[in-house]
């Protein structure tokens, strides 16, 4: 049954979309603008993208972001998935509080997370650098993976696994041939979200970064003070594109194997 929505609701939606996307759209447009300073349009160019690719500092920041993103995603995906699997067996009461604890890093303001990690590292005399950034990123991305995989497990039920055991499969066989194929799309989409979060994170990274661990967002922030150059617009555009592609991929994997009966949005 289709319900007609109130016309004001439509206007509201359009305004909201404009509010959210016009600034991003402007950045993308200006990244192709053939002038360094003016706000006017002076022709189309790829120059800023070209000069980005030859800038050592940008490339170094990019490499840092990728290293941190890939390593933290792998570890966070493992920990998050194992966590979701092992906490599945808990009783209702414990499950609620454990879920709450695992959700917390998603909800906690970044600034508190960053600051508390910084204090922790200082107390433990861990020198700040790539390692601390990676550990920090694992901390928050793990929760995203946990949330996605848990949702997947909940939607799956236990019947198939019980049936496999009844038919004589060992716990490992059950996991390998029954559980894993079913949660796999969830694991992948969790990993993609984790990677996106890592790539975009500024606040937490800013606190725990040390020498030669400048990630792209930190680099961009440092540049803005010098006046926003078209290279920065180009860099932002690339980050936006990568993030959007990853999120779309995550959506795709999450929807796949859901029997196409309903499209569920990511729980973020």
């Amino acid at each position: 049954m289709k319900r007609k929505s109130h016309p004001l609701l439509g206007i509201h939606s359009v305004l909201m979309m404009i509010f959210i996307y016009v600034p991003i759209l402007l950045i993308i447009i200006y990244s192709f603008n053939n002038t360094r300073l003016s706000g006017d349009w002076e022709g189309f160019t790829f120059d800023w993208y070209a000069s980005l690719m030859t800038d050592d500092h940008v490339l170094e920041a990019l490499m840092n972001s990728l290293t941190v993103g890939i390593v933290s995603t792998i570890v966070a995906t493992l920990l998050g998935t194992v966590g979701a699997l092992s906490l599945r067996g808990l009783g209702r009461r414990w499950k609620g509080s454990m879920n709450g604890l695992m959700y917390l890093p998603v909800i906690i303001p970044d600034i508190i997370m960053g600051l508390s990690l910084l204090v922790l590292f200082n107390q433990m005399h861990v020198p700040l650098g790539k390692a601390t950034v990676i550990i920090a990123h694992i901390t928050f991305s793990m929760s995203y993976v946990y949330v996605v995989v848990t949702a997947r497990l909940a939607g799956m039920g236990k019947q198939l696994e019980e049936a496999a055991s009844d038919l004589g499969a060992t716990p490992w066989q059950t996991f390998r041939h029954v559980t894993w194929p079913q949660i796999f799309p969830g694991v992948i989409s969790g990993a993609l979200i984790a990677f996106t979060m890592s790539l975009d994170d500024f606040m937490v990274s800013f606190f725990v970064a040390g020498p030669s661990s400048t990630t792209l967002p930190i680099y961009i922030y440092g540049q803005v003070k010098r006046g926003i150059s078209p290279e920065i617009n180009a860099l932002c555009t690339l980050l936006i594109v990568v993030s959007v592609v990853l999120i779309l991929l995550a959506q795709f994997f999450l929807n796949r194997g859901k029997g196409q009966k309903k499209h569920k949005m990511l729980p973020i």
């Binding site: 300073l37 050592d56 440092g222 003070k225």
Partner: protein
């Protein structure tokens, strides 16, 4: 149990990856100098030359403002060996015991610094800091629209420039400017003087196009603003893109500011940081560096190595006479609250 065994194995592998990744940054056994500074603050080649000359490695990370720098250093240093705080931040950091005293024996080239930039108010005897670059807040104006001779802060109040005046978005800079205009110190702690300066600024309000620090350059280049309070370095940048823009240090004088070399407390490579400062103050290196980044070179001995174009740029090379009319922003202690209150009042148009 087998399943656990495999999970453990993968986990161990992942942890190994983390450690490899984190070691990747410092895999070479060379001594490394960790610099924490503003973006694009050095010429790339000059840094590379330092690396090969001393057989060391340089890492260079950026911060966007002094407060971020302070937060990082205060929270435990972050492992940096060399930082570049601005004048007032050097004072704050000294007060908070966050800086190492510099060993001048390692920095003989300190002698090359021009006299007027040695021993600043915020760090007498240069115990903790050495100037890297400096500038003065003066008046930039566009000759196309501003035909009169500009030589006084008074000129901003000229009704001809209604709606075209740009002011920095900074309470100490702007109130300090109005204080200077009335013949007081830019760091007055006298409420009467501050109030009268702010009342004066209120009369200027109808003329003000914007309070802007970050994009004031663009506004001048695109001729949205005709006249305003602009840092000398920014003025040089503007004039490169819009040759109609002139710059002057008003006769009442202006506020001088600087970015400086300093070494955070507990820096691991203090001596190397001092060697770096000394290297940067070498006249030829210095000329190469400032030529490339386009800021003022405080190195008196470097002038002969600079290009004609650089030497003739009066916005980069302020005269001793102009510098003589300037004043550092002093510590106003508790009066800062007064500045904050009047600033809010001014900007909310009451």
């Amino acid at each position: 149990m087998k399943r656990k065994g495999i999970a453990g194995l993968v986990l161990a592998g992942a942890l190994a990856l983390v450690s490899v990744a984190s070691l990747g940054g410092c895999s070479s056994s060379k001594e490394t100098l960790h610099i924490y500074s503003w973006a694009d603050n050095f010429d790339e080649q000059v840094l590379k030359d330092f690396e090969s000359k001393f057989n060391v490695k340089v890492t260079y990370d950026n911060y966007a403002n002094n407060e971020d720098l302070l937060a990082k250093i205060k929270a435990g240093g972050g492992g940096y060996d060399l930082i570049q705080p601005s004048d007032y931040m050097v004072r704050t950091m000294i007060e908070n015991n966050l800086l190492e005293p510099l060993d001048k024996n390692n920095i003989p080239n300190f002698e090359n610094i021009q006299e007027s930039l040695k021993n600043p108010d915020f760090d007498p005897d240069n115990k903790y800091s050495i100037v890297y670059t400096s500038g003065v807040t003066g008046i930039a104006y566009n000759k196309k629209y501003v035909k009169d001779t500009i030589d006084s802060w008074e000129d901003l109040w000229d009704p001809k420039y209604k709606g075209k005046v740009l002011l920095l978005d900074d309470n100490r800079e702007v109130i300090g400017m109005a204080l200077k205009k009335q013949g007081h110190s830019n760091s007055s702690q006298d409420e009467g003087e501050i109030k009268s300066a702010v009342d004066d600024l209120k009369k200027l309000l109808p003329s003000v196009l914007a309070f802007d620090t970050d994009t004031i350059k663009q506004k001048m280049i695109q001729e949205e603003g005709w006249i305003g309070t602009v840092w000398s370095g920014d003025a040089a940048f503007i004039a490169k893109d819009n040759p109609d823009v002139e710059y002057v240090v008003p006769k009442e004088g202006g506020t001088i500011f600087s970015d400086n070399y300093a070494i955070p407390k507990g820096a691991e490579h203090k001596e190397l940081a001092e060697k770096f400062i000394n290297y940067m103050l070498d006249p030829q290196v210095s000329a190469k560096n400032y030529e490339s980044i386009g800021y003022s070179d405080p190195n008196a001995k470097a002038m002969e190595f600079h290009s004609e174009e650089y030497r003739n740029n009066h916005m980069i090379n302020l005269s001793e006479e102009e510098l003589g009319r300037t004043e550092w922003l002093g510590d106003v202690k508790d009066t800062l609250q007064l500045y904050d209150r009047y600033w809010t009042e001014l900007k909310s148009g009451r």
